[in-house]
Amino acid sequence: MAGIDFGLIVTGQAGQGLQVIAQALAGVFVRSGYHVFVSQDVMSRIRGGHNFTRVRIATKPVGADADRAQMLVALDAKLASLHLSELADDGLVLIDPDDGSRPETGHEIVAVPLRRLAREHGREVMTNSVALGAALALLQHDPEALRRPIQELFAGKGQAVADENLACARAGFDFVCAEGRTCRERIPRIAEDAGRLFLTGAQALGLGAIAAGVRLVAGYPMSPATPIFEFCARNAAEAGIAVELVEDEIAAINMALGAAFAGARAMTCTAGGGFCLMNEGLSLAGMTETPVVIMVGMRPGPATGLATRTAQADLLFCLSAGHGEFPRAVLAPADPEQAFHATIRAFRIAEEFQTPVIVLFDQFMADATRTIGNLQLPIANLQSAERQSLPEGAYRRYEASESGVSPFLRPGTKGQLVYVDSDEHNEEGHITESAEVRVRMVEKRARKAGGIAVMLEPPEVWPGPGRKTMVVGFGSTRGAVLEAVERLRGKGLDVGVLHICDIWPFPIDSVRAALEDSRRVITVENNWSGQVARLLRQEAGITAAGSVRRFDGRQFAVAEVAAGIERLAEGKTG
C-alpha cells in the first residue's frame, strides 16, 4: 500500500477547543499504527483572534508540517479563507453553514451544522467534538477509535462531560456518513497499536529532568517554558520533587543555586526575556562552580517580541550571556527524543563539572506533539558527584585539581565546612585580591571546558561527510532540513546534512571533519543575521556560502527549505 502522508488543518478562534480536535485525531491515528506530527499556531491571547493547528498523519516518521493539507476544518467559517493557499487542489473544507460565511473557493465544501448538532446532543461548547466526529467520518475511520482519546481528554471534567462529548462526536460522524461524503484519502487502521509514545517537546524536557533525578524546579510563568514547569508540578508528588513558583526570574535562578549548593539537583526554565534576568545568576553559577540546568525557550524578540511564536535568535546571546568568563555547556535538542536524552546529559554535565548547562529549545519544538519510538531510561543512574570519600583534613571547596573539578561536599556534613564565594576566592573559598591566585583560579575553572567537550553528543551527519553541498542547522530545524535534503537527494543533488544538538563547547573537530571537503556550506536557521553561519566562522574558521533564513515567528516548511537550499546550491548567494 503506497505510503500515506495526510495533512489536516484545524482553524478557529482561541478558546474554541482546536487542541481537542487535533489531540483526539492524533490519539486515534497514533494508536492505529501511524506516525503523527502536530504543530500549533496560536496568538498571544486567551479568546478570539485566529489560531490553527496542523496535523500530519504518515506511515513514515515525520518531523515537520505537511507542505499541503488535504482537509481544512474551520470552527469559524470566516477564518477558512486564510488557509486556502495551503489546501491541496483536491482538498476539502469542513465548515458550519450556520456561521453565515462561505469561502469562495473551488475546493469541495462539506457543510455540517456543527453548532446545531452540539446543542442537540450536548452543549454548544462541544461544537469542536462534533467537528471531530465529522472529520473522522470524512477520513472513513472507525468511530469507536474516538472513545479512548475523548475519555482521556475529558476525564478531568467528569464522566458526564466525556460522554456528552462522545455523543456529539458520534452525531458529527453519523451526519457526514448520512450525507455520503468522504475525503479522497482513506486512513484505515494499518497495524495494531504500535505502542509509540506521543508527546510534546516541553513534556519530554520535563520527563528528562525527572528521569535525571531533578529535586527542585524553580520558575516563573513565561511562554513557551510554562508547560515544562506545569508538567513538573503535575508530577511533583509522585516524583518527590519540589516545584516552586517564585516572585521573579532572578529569584528562580538564585533559589535553584541555593538548592544545588545544599546538594539537591536543581533547574529552572524560562524564555529569552526571563533568561536576561537570570544572566547575573548564570555568572554566579560559573564563579561559584554550582551545578544548575537552565532551560531557555527561544521566541522572536527583541524584548517581548512575539510571545507565542518561534525563533532561533538567542544562540549567540546564550554563548556570551553573563558577565565575565566561565565554562558552560549549551545543548539544543530538536525533538522530544533528543530533548529527553539531552536533559539527562545536561544534568550529568552540570553535576560532574559543577557548571551551569543551558538546554536551548524554542516554541515550535516545545509545543509540537509527535510520535517517537521509545525513551530508554539512563542506565548509570546519575550518581551525584558527592559520593566520593570524605576529605581527611579541612575540606576546601575549590581545591585545585588536574581536571579543574574540585570534590563537591554538601554543607551540613559533620565536622566539615563549605565556603562558596561570588568574589574571586582562594581554594578555601575565602575572598582574595591576589593576582597569582586569580590567574590560578581562572585557569582552574577554564580547564573544565575540555572535560565537558568530551561528554557532548557529536553532531549528526547524514548521509555522510563531505557532500558537494552541506546543510548546517541546530535544534528544531532538524525535521524540515532532513526531509528537504532527502527530497533534493531524490532529485539527484549531492547534498548532506550536519545537524548540531550539543553546540557548546563548539564541536570544532567533528564540524571540520564533516565540512572540510564540501564545496559549499549552507546554514538553515530561524533568525535574521545567520547566527550559526557566524558561529561556524568564529569557532571553526569555515565561511558559509549563504543561509536559508526565516524570522517571521513561524517554523520552516519542508518545501521552503528545499527551495532555499536549491537556490543557494546553484551559486545564487543567499
Binding site: G15, M43, S44, R45, I46, R47, G48, G49, Y220, P221, M222, S223, T226, F229, E230, A233, R234, A236, A237, V243, L245, E247, D248, E249, G273, A303, T304, A307
Partner: protein, 295 residues
C-alpha cells in the same frame, strides 16, 4: 467636551468576553473625560499580561513595556516631562510578582503618577497559574495541590511604606471605581488603586458574583484615611479570614507628605526634556579640572 467615548480607540479588543478588564477600561475613560484632560497630554505605561493591553484601547500616548517594569518606566517618563499625566497599569502578577520591589519603592518615592493594578488573582495570558494574590489553596496547573502561600496584601504594604493614596476598587462597581480613579489622577503624589477584577476564564473562585456579594464602600463607615492603624486593620479584612467576611473598597490611607516631583530641586527649573545644553556652563565645568599655573 470630551466624553468617555471620545477616549476610545478603534481596533479589535483581545480580551475574553465578560472580562473584568472591560469595566476598568470604561471607568478609566469616564475618569479621563470627567477630568477634561487632552489625550495628547496623557501617557499610559503598561507591563505584560492581559492588563498590559489596556492602553491599546485608549486614545492616549503609551509605552507598553516589560513585565513588572511599568512603574520605573513611568517614573522615568514623568520626571523627564512632568507636563504629562502619567498612569502605570499592570496585572497582579506584573505589579506584585515581577515588579514587587519597584512597587514598594514607588510608594516611598511618591511620584505624581497614578497606578492601577488589575488584580484578578491569577496569571491570565500564560493560561492560569497562581499569582501573588491567589488565595491559599488556589488550584492551578502550576499548583495542582493548591498554593501553599497566603495571598499578598498590597494595601497593607502600601500603608506600611507610608503611601499617600492607597485605595481599592472593584471592576464591577464602575461608578465607585471611576470616582476613585478621578481622585487618584488628581492626587499630588502616587495614586495607587488595587482593582479587584474577575477573570472569567481562569479564576472560578473570585467571580463577579463572589465579589458582588462581599464588597462594600468604607466611605459609608466614617473611615478616616489619615488614621494609619485603622487603615491597616481595614486593609486586612478579607473573606480568607472569615468566609462571610466583607471586602472593603475605597480610599484606605493617605499619608500627608509632599510628592517627589514637588521636592526635587531640579524640576523647579522646568521640564528636563526642555533643558537646552548651555555651552558656557559646560566650558566652566571643564575648567574646574584645569590645574592653575604657577603662583
Amino acid at each position: 467636551m470630551l466624553t468617555a467615548e471620545y477616549w476610545s480607540r478603534a481596533g479589535e479588543n483581545a480580551w475574553c468576553p465578560g472580562c473584568g478588564n472591560f469595566g476598568i477600561l470604561s471607568a478609566l475613560k469616564q475618569a479621563l473625560a470627567e477630568l477634561q484632560l487632552e489625550p495628547w497630554r496623557v501617557c499610559i505605561v503598561s507591563g505584560i499580561g492581559q492588563a498590559g493591553k489596556l492602553p491599546h484601547y485608549v486614545k492616549c500616548n503609551f509605552l507598553h513595556g516589560l513585565h513588572g517594569r511599568a512603574l520605573p518606566t513611568a517614573i522615568g517618563v514623568k520626571l523627564a516631562n512632568p507636563g504629562l499625566k502619567v498612569i502605570a497599569v499592570g496585572g497582579d502578577g506584573d505589579m506584585y510578582g515581577e515588579g514587587g520591589g519597584a512597587l514598594l519603592h514607588a510608594f516611598r518615592r511618591n511620584p505624581e503618577i497614578a497606578c492601577f493594578v488589575h488584580n484578578n488573582g491569577v496569571y491570565g495570558l500564560t493560561k492560569g497559574q497562581a499569582s501573588p494574590t491567589s488565595a491559599a489553596g488556589f488550584r492551578t496547573r502550576a499548583t495542582p495541590e493548591g498554593t501553599a502561600l497566603p495571598g499578598f496584601n498590597p494595601l497593607a504594604a502600601g500603608i506600611a511604606m507610608s503611601g499617600t493614596f492607597v485605595a481599592r476598587g472593584f471592576a464591577g462597581d464602575r461608578e465607585g471605581l471611576t470616582r476613585l480613579m478621578v481622585l487618584a489622577l488628581k492626587h499630588k503624589g502616587f495614586g495607587f488603586i488595587d482593582i479587584l477584577q474577575p477573570c472569567v476564564t481562569y479564576n472560578k473562585v473570585n467571580t463577579h458574583k463572589w465579589y458582588q456579594e462581599r464588597v462594600f464602600d468604607i466611605g459609608t463607615r466614617q473611615h478616616d484615611p489619615l488614621d494609619i492603624e485603622r487603615a491597616l486593620e481595614r486593609a486586612r479584612e478579607w473573606p480568607e479570614a472569615d468566609p462571610e467576611g466583607r471586602i472593603p473598597l475605597g480610599l484606605f490611607y493617605s499619608a500627608q507628605r509632599p510628592s517627589y516631583d514637588e521636592q526635587l530641586p531640579v524640576l523647579r527649573q522646568g521640564a528636563p526634556v526642555e533643558a537646552r545644553p548651555d555651552p558656557r556652563k559646560v566650558e566652566q565645568a571643564i575648567e574646574e579640572f584645569r590645574q592653575h599655573g604657577r603662583d
